[in-house]
Amino acid sequence: MFDILSLILISIFFPVIVLVGKMLYKKENINRKLIVGLAITFLAMELLRFFVVASYYDGAIIPSEEVPYSFITLSCIVCLFAVFNKGKLGKIFQGAFCLTRLVPIIWALFDSAVYTNAYDTHAVAKALYFLECGIILTISILIMSEQKITAWSNLWAAVLLIVFAALDCLVITFWGTRDAITLMWGITLIVSFVSIGAVYGIYLLACHLSKKQKAKTIDSGKDNG
């Protein structure tokens, strides 16, 4: 329960702190720098998490069932393409990355095996996972605040999730990370799919509210004039 609470709190408060800091800083065109900085931090933290887990084992030989692989690992690769590829492919990755932002949190809520390790007594790897969830949520909010996410992004996000599901099936079967593809695994996948739509819905609502707010500001400006 404490883990779940920590995960949710960190995931919510990390973006809040960064966005409030950005508002207080009052410097324009800082979005891109923030996104690049956070993406590099995310990559570094994912690598660090891997090495931390490796350091728990004798000779850094990780047993196959304990290799720290989950949706967040795939997100790391997608994040790099989304942030550093400015072409058409980059746009596709941006959409898929932003809309699948709740998926690592959902997998962590449903299956604690994605972030826990029996040797992680000081909870270093766990803390890194929670922080990563917060960081990628911040990156996606920043991307969504400056890029238009089209309805097609839902499809790309779903494709990304299907790719992950296929990879996870292979990993479960060949690495023996879990017993088998269980009912819980299926439910988690379905909830993940639903979360894509939910994030898109929130994005549309935020866009609508933002437009309304802008129109209101313009109207009040006209009245004053």
Binding site: S55, G59, A60, I61, S64, V67, F174
Partner: protein, 238 residues
Amino acid sequence: MVLNYIVPLVVTLVLVALFVTLCTIFLKNASEEKKLIPIKVVFFLLVALEFCKIFYLIATNGRYEPSRYPIVFCSMVMFAYPLFCFKKNRFSEVAKSFSIIPAFVIFALFVGIQWQFNMSLIQGHSYLYHGAMLAVAIYLLTSKLYKFEFKKCFPLFIVLSGYILLSTVLSLFIGGDISYFGPNSSYLGFIYNNFGYVVGNCFVVILFFVLCVAVYGIIALCQRKKKKADSQTEVQNV
């Protein structure tokens, strides 16, 4: 010995020669952007091979060893390609330098001990993987995408030394060997076992310095001599 070592080695060298010849001839008058296409293809091939190797080894061995992490010296060359293939930046020239001399060293080190092992799927993969890196290194030279200049050897040396330092720190942090220069390495492990990490690292760094300076220095001297001879011929013709 013949089937396990000579045949795969010859096949690899033939494939490398074919790749280099065909790419160089067909892209002789092409723009730099087009000349980089084969390297992009090789980059994606190497990434795919790396993923397949990791997945296969974990599945068959039931464990993931540090010598198989994608940050060992052999894999580092692969990470240099995107730095000059997709978008030019201030690291592009160093990345190109890193794709040449280290690729030759890696291939030589790889070939040097392969006679001990029997041919297997993972061995075939290794020949293809290292051969692809060698092919890119030679192609960079034959397509004139890279020009040897003596001043380029220093950034390369700094990058190589940085890698040695980083891999040592990581090895100590995780308690395993991620580099081929570690204690259990079949190459330079004896130095570490006899003299320890510090001396071992210093030795490797000095070795790299000598190698970089020697290769770039010899090529610079040859280029200077060639220029001199050309100018003398021109004077005689006049």
